[in-house]
């Protein structure tokens, strides 16, 4: 059987997490090539529907990441993210999507190392779970 290469969608805010990923690049840190980053200005822009759509399209995992609480470039957008994503997480579990497949992370612009750590962990976790089972299968 071919090796399972999970695909993980990352919604990253422009000011902290996207910059941390850039820093990981300029610092030549290495992490697995499983991530596809979608930039938003603030993690507060991430509509839970985006996450659901990602899973529907076949994502094996999703990360929503933004600035640390108190550091939001837009006062407190990330606190709204926290509320929304906490709710979403419960919903995902009820839908049969394991909680390890979804993460909310605070990664500041300086924390390239944290990003690499999160990335490695996430790939391992998702690999352990295997591919996300098709929707129909979950229903039955």
């Amino acid at each position: 059987m071919a090796e399972f290469k999970p695909k993980i969608v990352v919604f990253a805010c422009n000011w902290c997490t996207y910059a941390a990923l850039d820093l990981a690049g300029t610092s030549r840190m290495k992490y697995p090539a499983n991530f596809r980053v979608i930039k938003v200005m603030c993690s507060g822009r991430v509509d839970p529907q985006f996450v659901l759509e990602a899973f529907k399209q076949g994502a094996d995992g999703v990360i929503v990441a933004g600035c640390h609480p108190g550091d939001c470039h837009y006062v407190n957008g990330n606190m709204k993210t926290l509320r929304r994503m906490t709710m979403l997480k419960k919903m995902l579990e009820e839908m049969g999507i394991e909680k390890e497949r979804f993460r909310l992370e605070w990664i500041s612009a300086a924390e390239a190392t944290k990003w690499v750590q999160v990335a490695n962990e996430m790939v391992e976790q998702v690999k352990a779970l295997g591919p996300l089972k098709p929707r129909l299968e979950v229903k039955e």
Partner: protein, 579 residues
């Protein structure tokens, strides 16, 4: 929207930065297969003049109405390429970037196949979004021709003087009761008989004589609203007897020059505060200054020492568990400068310098040569020396790596060359202004190499040690440099700001008000129309484009330009499949 979508895709080699890992040709060929892509090309440096010219020509020749560049991070070159579109007569916002360098080639150098695959997908995602982009116009906003300078140390003073001489009103806010910051306590400076205080005085005199300068002592910035060109600032001034006064200011740009604190060694760190024979370098410079506690007389612990040991890198280079990992830059030279001044006045004093790396960079190496000529003894350590107070003297013990022996030297007093740490206010200012800081705790510049005095937030500039250790000359230069940047803003009558803000589709809006309650800037109000219909209204001058309203809108009426639901969704879908 019947216009045919015609997309050009440009894949940059970035020398070997991308092409060394990603198979650029393969990405180009793949891009050509994507719907609406009419041309796809690669080039060694897309950002160079020929690269830009190629895109411009293609826009005309192939009648492109969308452009995708796969290259470095948009943080680097999105403005460059938007400019290219503008030059070619295309709306600059019909542009999307795929980050195949920072997010791909640089982080996956060992798996060229996976990197190439990822690059293709990133291009596919960018093309999918580009297809749905809409032209946007920048928002024009009036500029207040005044500048706020936070911090009255040498960097803030220099910035203030430059800007008032240039003809702008400057509000200088200093939390202490005097101007000058740490520099007033530095005593005589290297290569001159000028003191830190002389430097401060000469700046302050000129500032005070200029009617454009408005100085607020005992004052702190409490709140900052607004954005580039039009910041609204609340300053609190302490009036004594517990009274305070609030002052409202309106400025076009802000310079942050909040300085540093000298590193304060822990009690017992190199014997600090366990004996009065151990002082820090900052304390010593104050002792040696005419205004100091001993009127310039060298007295440590009540005696005039006959021998002195300087320990460098105190608080820096991780020499002790409390120390910072970074280099404080000025302490080697400041120590040697101080030693030479001491040697001049008291030639009989023996001086020992315990150092890790002697960092008298540039012309300051001169101080090192002079110290050697003056028979200052240098002892190099890897492991931090230990300081043991004895009855009448202090013993400094270290493993000297040059002679490979442990040596102990009894001296009358020890000077700890303490470094610089971020000023206590850094955290407060950082959060208030929403600017970042690095792992070292100092404020972060927009780009370390080429934008060293700009914060990531437009209209905010950084001067002096606020961004990291500097000597007095470098701090003053950065004060002028920050002033120049502020001047580029406040000379203009109006400034253009990003149009990536929220907009409402009135037909779809039900006026539920969820968005208005969420908006952190109170930019959204609910209006009742003549027919009684309630709708949201976005004030484009107040909206900063976070998009949290759009994420919450139940009907999809609220959208953020540049990050509309359908645009983000298209990226999500394109992550998994082409069309």
């Amino acid at each position: 929207m019947s216009e045919e979508i015609r997309i050009g895709v440009y894949v940059c080699h970035c020398g070997l930065n991308i092409a060394g890992v990603v198979n650029v040709k393969e990405v180009v060929e793949y891009a050509k297969t994507l719907p609406n892509v009419v041309v796809a090309k690669d080039y060694v440096f897309m950002c160079s003049a020929p690269g830009q010219a190629m895109i411009k020509e293609d826009i005309k020749e192939h009648k492109l109405n969308r452009v995708v560049v796969a290259a470095c991070s948009p943080a680097m070159h999105e403005p460059t390429f938007r400019g290219v579109l503008g030059d070619a007569g295309l709306n600059p916002y019909l542009f999307e970037m795929a980050n195949i360098r920072e997010h791909c080639s640089w982080v996956h150098p060992d798996d060229k196949e996976a990197a190439t695959e990822k690059a293709k997908e990133l291009v596919r995602m960018a093309v999918a979004k580009a297809r749905l982009l809409e032209p946007l116009e920048k928002i024009k906003s009036a500029v207040r021709p005044a500048v706020l300078v936070i911090g009255g140390g040498v960097a803030g003073l220099r910035a203030t003087l430059d800007l008032v001489e240039r003809g702008f009103d400057v509000y200088l806010v200093e939390k202490r009761s005097v101007l000058g910051g740490n520099a007033v306590k530095l005593g005589e400076l290297a290569y001159t008989t000028l003191t830190g205080k002389d430097v401060v005085n000469s700046l302050v005199e000129k500032i005070k004589a200029n009617p454009k300068a408005h100085i607020f002592l005992n004052s702190e910035v409490e709140k900052v609203d607004g954005s580039i060109g039009d910041f609204r600032v609340t300053v609190t001034r302490r009036l004594g007897e517990g009274k305070e006064e609030k002052i409202e200011l309106n400025v076009g740009a802000i310079i942050v020059a909040i300085g540093y604190d000298p590193y304060e060694p822990a009690i017992g760190e190199y014997g600090y505060k366990t004996t009065d024979k151990v002082v820090t370098l900052f304390q010593l410079m104050d002792i040696l200054s005419e205004e100091g506690p001993t009127k310039g007389e060298l007295l440590i612990g009540g005696i005039r020492p006959k021998s002195l040991a300087f320990i460098l890198c105190v608080g820096s280079l991780s020499t002790t568990p409390n120390a910072k990992p970074y280099c404080s830059r000025m302490c080697c030279s400041a120590s040697l400068k101080t030693i030479l001044k001491i040697k001049e006045k008291y030639p009989d004093i023996d001086v020992y310098v315990f150092y890790k790396d002697m960092r008298t960079y540039g012309k300051e190496e001169d101080l090192y040569w002079k110290a050697i000529e003056n028979e200052v003894k240098f002892i190099r350590f890897d492991e931090a020396p230990s300081v043991k107070p004895r009855d009448k003297f202090v013993e400094v013990e270290a493993f000297d790596t040059t002679i490979q022996e442990r040596i102990a030297i009894p001296v009358d007093a020890v000077v700890l060359a303490n470094g610089m740490v971020p000023a206590t206010d850094t955290e407060k200012i950082r959060i208030m202004l929403k600017i970042g800081c690095g792992a070292d705790g100092f404020l972060k510049e927009a780009h370390l190499k080429l934008r060293p005095v700009e914060a990531l937030t437009d209209g905010i500039f950084l001067a002096g040690v606020a961004t990291g250790p500097k000597n007095i000359i470098e701090s003053i230069a950065s004060g002028s440099a920050a002033a120049a940047k502020a001047a580029t803003i406040v000379t203009k009558e109006e400034i253009e700001v990003e149009p990536l803000i929220a907009r409402v589709n009135e037909d779809m809006c039900s006026g539920c008000g969820i968005c208005a309650a969420l908006c952190p800037y109170e930019a959204i109000t609910i209006e009742v129309k003549e027919d009684g219909k309630r709708i949201s209204k976005v004030n484009s001058m107040l909206c900063k484009g976070c998009g949290t309203c759009a994420a919450a809108c139940p009907s999809g009426a609220m959208q953020q330009s540049g990050f509309k639901d359908n645009q983000v969704m298209a990226q999500v879908v394109a992550t998994f499949r082409g069309e």
